[in-house]
Each structure stands twice: as structure tokens, then as C-alpha cells.
């Protein structure tokens, strides 16, 4: 249909007769908002966020109750430091969630993104609307990443609140033994949360790729979690030291860099570079798979 046809019509309903192949401005934003509403409006996802937010609450509660007992000051990672400074509850909670719960969250979110839509049949209607598959994949990636960021944020904010309420916030003793003002400490912990979030991008790409392979969201979820766990296991085998730096999970704990006297941005950026590499490879794999796949569900 040509523009001339529309103009010739000249009717008040011209907007409705817009040439169909012309995308409306803001269409991207509209789809992203719709996708975010879908993700965050889903009760299961809300429960997931609440569950993650409960981790620092429980951890804080346990530490608060046992703070005067012989068990005080014990525990892996930063757990022992929490009673001294509530700010460390953020770091301790993130460390607790990092090996399994956050990968699980990613698995659920990415499994739902493509495989979930395929299994419920809504994917075929989206594609028939039509949504270009590249655009849909990109929007799904953005929405999933936003959900993961929200999960980290939920853990962090609840941990901050619980930590402040139970243990108070004071100047921060870094891993190097140096003490910095609380405001700097909060900034550094925010850096930790940001790094943790960005560290998960590679796994999101892997999860989306699995999600394009199957119509069974649980299968994609399980595969994603398994990748994270296998990567962590391989990371402990000294025989594989040569490939450790390339592993998805190898640089996850490098967020500790924010808690050293001098932050080595080189370490952080190499961690980010590895994630970028995983995103590039698995993002392109997911794209290739998704744009060529037959949607027969």
C-alpha cells in the first residue's frame, strides 16, 4: 500500500490505515515495557525475588541471635565480619547466593524467556504478530538481565536494611586491613553488587541459548544451573589451570577487588572481558539458533 492511498482516503481514521510496514516510533520501548510487565507481574517471579531477599534476612537473623555465643564471628567469606559492620551483610548475602541461587534465578528467567513461551504456544503468536526474532531475542535478553539485576538489588537492599538494623553501619575495614569511611564503603559495596550483576551476563547468554534449544523450560533451567555448577567444579581442578581464566564462574569472586586497599581495575575489566566473550559467543549461538528454528509448538 502506498502512502498516496492513505492520503487519498483522507479520512479521520487515517491513523488506523497507517501503512502497516512502517514501525511506530517507540515500538522498542513499548515491547520492552510489555516484557518487563510480563516478567515482573508474574507471581512466580515475585516469589523468587522475595525468596532471594529472604536470604539476607535469615542470615542477619541467625547472626544476630548467635552474636554473643561462641559461634559469633565464625563462618565463611564475610559472614564473620557482619556482626562488626552491617554493611558486610550485603557482601556475605551475595556470596551465599552466588554459587547456586542466582544461577537458579537465571535458569528460571531464561528458561521462561524462550522455551516457556514456546511450550505455552505464545511464541507462535508473538512471531505471527509479527515480532522479528532478532528483536524478540534482544528484548528477552534485556528483560532477563533486568530481572537478574533486580534480584541482586533485592538481596543488596534487604541486606543493607537488615544489616543496619541489627548490627549498625560503621566505617569499613577492607580486606587489606585499611579502614575507610562508611560513605566510601557503601560505594564500594555498590560496586560489588554491580560487578556481581555484570558477572552474570555470560550465564544469561548461556541460559538464553539453552532456552532456544528446547520447548521444555525446566530443561533449559536445569542445563543453565548445571553449567554454572560444572564451571565452578572445573575451576577447582588444578589440572585444568590452563583453562581456568576462561571459565564462566572463575572471575565471579573478583568482586573482592572492591574491598582491597587499591582497586585493580585491570582485574575487574578482565573479568568483564571474559563475560563479554561468553555473551558474544552464546549470544550469537542463541541468535543463530533462534532465527533459524522452526516454531512447531
Amino acid at each position: 500500500m502506498s502512502h498516496a492511498d492513505v492520503l487519498a482516503d483522507g479520512s479521520a481514521d487515517a491513523a488506523e490505515l497507517r501503512p502497516s510496514s512502517t514501525p511506530v516510533r517507540g515500538a522498542w520501548g513499548r515491547l520492552v515495557r510489555s516484557e518487563l510487565r510480563l516478567v515482573f507481574g508474574r507471581r512466580r517471579n515475585q516469589a523468587l525475588l522475595a525468596g532471594l531477599a529472604a536470604v539476607p534476612l535469615l542470615l542477619g537473623l541467625v547472626l544476630f541471635v548467635t552474636r554473643d555465643s561462641a559461634l559469633a564471628g565464625q563462618g565463611p567469606g564475610f559472614v564473620g565480619r557482619v556482626t562488626g559492620n552491617g554493611l558486610f551483610l550485603v557482601v556475605a548475602a551475595l556470596i551465599m547466593c552466588l554459587p547456586f541461587l542466582l544461577p537458579l534465578t537465571i535458569g528460571i528467567a531464561t528458561g521462561e524467556a524462550i522455551a516457556g513461551e514456546a511450550s505455552s504456544g505464545t511464541l507462535r503468536y508473538l512471531l505471527a504478530v509479527p515480532v522479528s526474532r532478532t528483536r524478540l531475542l534482544a528484548v528477552k535478553a534485556v528483560a532477563t538481565m533486568t530481572f537478574v539485576a533486580a534480584a541482586v538489588l533485592a538481596i543488596g537492599l534487604v541486606a543493607l536494611a537488615v544489616g543496619a538494623a541489627f548490627f549498625g553501619l560503621t566505617d569499613v575495614t577492607l580486606l587489606s586491613g585499611t579502614t575507610i569511611p562508611l560513605a566510601d564503603g557503601v560505594l564500594r559495596v555498590a560496586g560489588v553488587a554491580a560487578y556481581v550483576t555484570l558477572s552474570l551476563t555470560g550465564l544469561v547468554a548461556v541460559g538464553l541459548f539453552f532456552s532456544t534449544l528446547t520447548e521444555v523450560p525446566v530443561g533449559a533451567m536445569a542445563a543453565t544451573v548445571i553449567v554454572a555448577i560444572v564451571s565452578a567444579v572445573l575451576d577447582t581442578l588444578p589440572q585444568l589451570a590452563a583453562i581456568h581464566p576462561a571459565l564462566l564462574t572463575h572471575h565471579w569472586l573478583d568482586f573482592a577487588e572492591f574491598l582491597r586497599v587499591e582497586v585493580d581495575w585491570g582485574v575487574l575489566s578482565s573479568g568483564m572481558a571474559v563475560q563479554a566473550a561468553w555473551v558474544a559467543i552464546f549470544g550469537s549461538l542463541a541468535w543463530s539458533r533462534f532465527v533459524t528454528a522452526d516454531v512447531s509448538s
Binding site: S11, S20, R124, A128, V131, S296
Partner: protein, 348 residues
């Protein structure tokens, strides 16, 4: 024929441009221009072989004229849904090509699908969202849809399928019929030039089936081309102007319904007085009719090219009593059985 032949008189100016308008034939200058404008759906040698090796669709050449209601018939598993998926760009053909409204698929999907409403293999929506929210979700996905009119359009679509009262109810609480209606509402979110409805009456009670038929007729009267598939011939036969019959992945026959129903081989039944059966059979055989069989005082035979009047005249001229003469043409269903050797699957 052209789409405007039968329907264009009733096309409202503000709903749809007349089919056969001056749209250029696109980038494809080699294509017969009349085909592009006259056919809403066209495929050439469209084939899909699944990775399992199963040949689901075997070189079919669909011709759906603009303005027609094309009944796409065939038993379950005959390849209808796979064909529809290929038309909509969901499944990639193994070989062959398809055009939708003159645009090649799937490459032209972005241009052409906004003008196509589709119901594919039953409705599918997010179970925890209400009907209106589900429509809003689909509309938001449409890069070419105007967000300002989204609410009004979805309300109109819901109204049209009678779901206004249940617009906010979660989809999982819908009955099968309501789900089907929501699927139709989604297909009607925007004015469409072509509707592809795969089994739209599935799960509907007789009343619902009637309503869908009415809806299809209404849309067709407004100038929309409708491609409607079904495994239940009788449910849609009455609204179709054209028919295509699939069997085992092949398009066995297609054309105008009128032509197809007349094409069937007619049988004649002649009833005479009891003792004249043998003589009458000789007369029929003499006329060149085949498969002459006696059944009491009744004779059956294939009419072939012979006119029924010739038969009656010949019997009378032979001095025999003609008690009754009946000509029966096969129904579409019989035609189908004849073509495929299969009955319709009524169990579904």
C-alpha cells in the same frame, strides 16, 4: 478471477483498500502482476520435510484468491497446520516458496504479517493474564501498531467475539470456547486483509460454531480474505467460496466450491416396474452407462456424461414404465473419501 469480482462491492472504503488496487508487484518484476494482486496466498512447490524425515507437506501450490473464503480441509495430520506455519513464517520450508499478499515469506514477514490476523493450532495465551492484558501484550509486540488506539482496538476485538464481560478474568479460568474466542479477538486486533484461521471451531459447541461461521461471513463480506482450516468439513463448508483438500501432505484438489461439488461423478437411480428390471438394465448399458447394478426393482448406474433426460427418454422410448429417476451427486465428504480413501476424523 479477481478478488474484486464477487466481493469488492461490499468493501467499506475505510476498512480495506480494494483488492486488485494498483500496488506494485514489489521487487519481483518477473512475477505475473495479476497473480500478485489477485491472490492473497500463493505457494509453489511448498515442501516441508521434518528432521525426523517425515514429509509433512509435499510440494503444494495453494491459490487463495483475494476476497475468498478458502476452506482448507483435510484430516488431522494431513499437513494443514504445517502449511499454515510456513505461510506465517514460523516454519522454514524445506523447498518451495510462499507469498502472502504478494510478499515472499518468511522474508517479508515484517511487512506483511501486520496485515494478517492468525489463529494457529488453537489459542495460546499467558494463563495468569486476563483477556485484555493478553491482547495488550500482543499489540505491544507489534511494532507497526499505534499504541494510542491500542485500548480501543482491543476492546472492540473483545466486543466482537463477546468477551467484554470476561476481559479482566485470567485466561486460565476461560472455558475452551472463550479461549478460542480470545484467539479470534487477537486475530482481529487490527483491520486485516487476510485472516488465517486454523481450526477456529475447535472446542466450540454448536452455538459457538455457528457464531464463528457468522463472524467469518461478516468479515468476508467486509472484504477480508479468510483462509480457514478444519478437519470437520461440515462446519465450514457452508461459508466457503473456495476449497482445498489436503491428504497425506498433498493438496489433492482445490478450486471454487461450486465447481468442485459439480465435478463429482453423478449416479443415477432408476426405478421401474418389477419385471422390467432386466430390460431397463439393457437400455442403460446401451446408453453407455457404467456399473449398472440391479437391486430389486431399482437400478444404479454411474451417469457419466449422459444427461438424465436422455436416460428417461430412452427408457420411455423402450416402452418401459419409469416409476422413478433420481440423480445424486456426491457430497464434499464423499468427494473427499473418493480422493483420499480416508474418512474425516470425527473422533477429535
Amino acid at each position: 478471477m479477481t478478488a474484486s469480482g464477487t466481493r469488492s462491492s461490499s468493501v467499506p472504503r475505510d476498512r480495506l483498500r480494494p483488492a486488485g488496487s494498483t500496488e506494485p508487484a514489489g521487487a519481483d518484476v518477473e512475477l505475473d502482476a495479476s497473480d500478485v494482486t489477485a491472490l492473497a496466498v500463493r505457494t509453489e512447490g511448498l515442501t516441508k520435510r521434518f528432521r525426523s524425515g517425515q514429509l509433512a507437506v509435499d510440494g503444494i501450490g495453494l491459490r487463495v484468491p483475494r476476497g475468498s473464503v478458502y476452506g482448507f480441509l483435510g484430516p488431522n495430520g494431513s499437513g494443514k497446520t504445517t502449511t499454515i506455519r510456513m505461510l506465517l513464517g514460523l516454519v522454514r520450508p524445506t523447498s518451495g516458496v510462499a507469498w502472502l499478499l504478494g510478499e515472499p515469506m518468511p522474508d517479508g514477514a515484517g511487512h506483511v504479517l501486520p496485515r494478517v490476523g492468525a489463529l494457529v493450532e488453537g489459542p495460546a495465551f499467558h494463563p495468569y493474564l486476563g483477556g485484555r492484558a493478553n491482547l495488550a501484550r500482543l499489540d505491544a509486540s507489534d511494532a507497526t501498531a499505534d499504541p494510542r488506539t491500542a485500548r480501543r482496538r482491543s476492546d472492540e476485538a473483545l466486543e466482537r467475539v463477546g468477551l467484554t464481560a470476561a476481559a479482566s478474568k485470567p485466561y486460565r479460568q476461560y472455558s475452551l470456547g472463550m479461549k478460542q474466542r480470545l484467539g479470534l479477538a487477537a486475530a482481529l486486533l487490527r483491520p486485516r486483509e487476510l485472516l488465517v484461521l486454523d481450526e477456529p471451531t475447535n472446542g466450540l459447541d454448536p452455538q459457538g460454531t455457528r457464531e464463528v461461521r457468522l463472524l467469518i461471513r461478516e468479515l468476508a463480506d467486509a472484504g477480508t480474505t479468510v483462509l480457514v482450516s478444519s478437519h470437520l468439513l461440515t462446519e465450514i463448508e457452508q461459508v466457503c467460496t473456495h476449497l482445498g483438500i489436503m491428504g497425506r501432505g498433498k493438496l489433492l484438489v482445490q478450486g471454487e466450491r461450486q465447481v468442485l461439488t459439480e465435478r463429482g461423478v453423478a449416479r443415477v437411480t432408476v426405478t421401474t416396474a418389477g419385471e422390467q428390471v432386466g430390460a431397463a438394465a439393457e437400455v442403460l448399458t446401451g446408453l453407455g452407462l457404467a456399473e449398472v447394478l440391479a437391486d430389486g426393482v431399482t437400478l444404479h448406474a454411474l451417469l457419466g456424461a449422459t444427461a438424465p433426460e436422455e436416460v428417461s427418454a430412452a427408457i420411455v422410448n423402450a416402452g418401459l414404465d419409469l416409476v422413478g429417476l433420481q440423480v445424486r451427486r456426491p457430497s464434499l465428504e464423499e468427494l473427499f473419501v473418493e480422493l483420499t480413501g480416508e474418512g474425516f476424523d470425527v473422533a477429535r
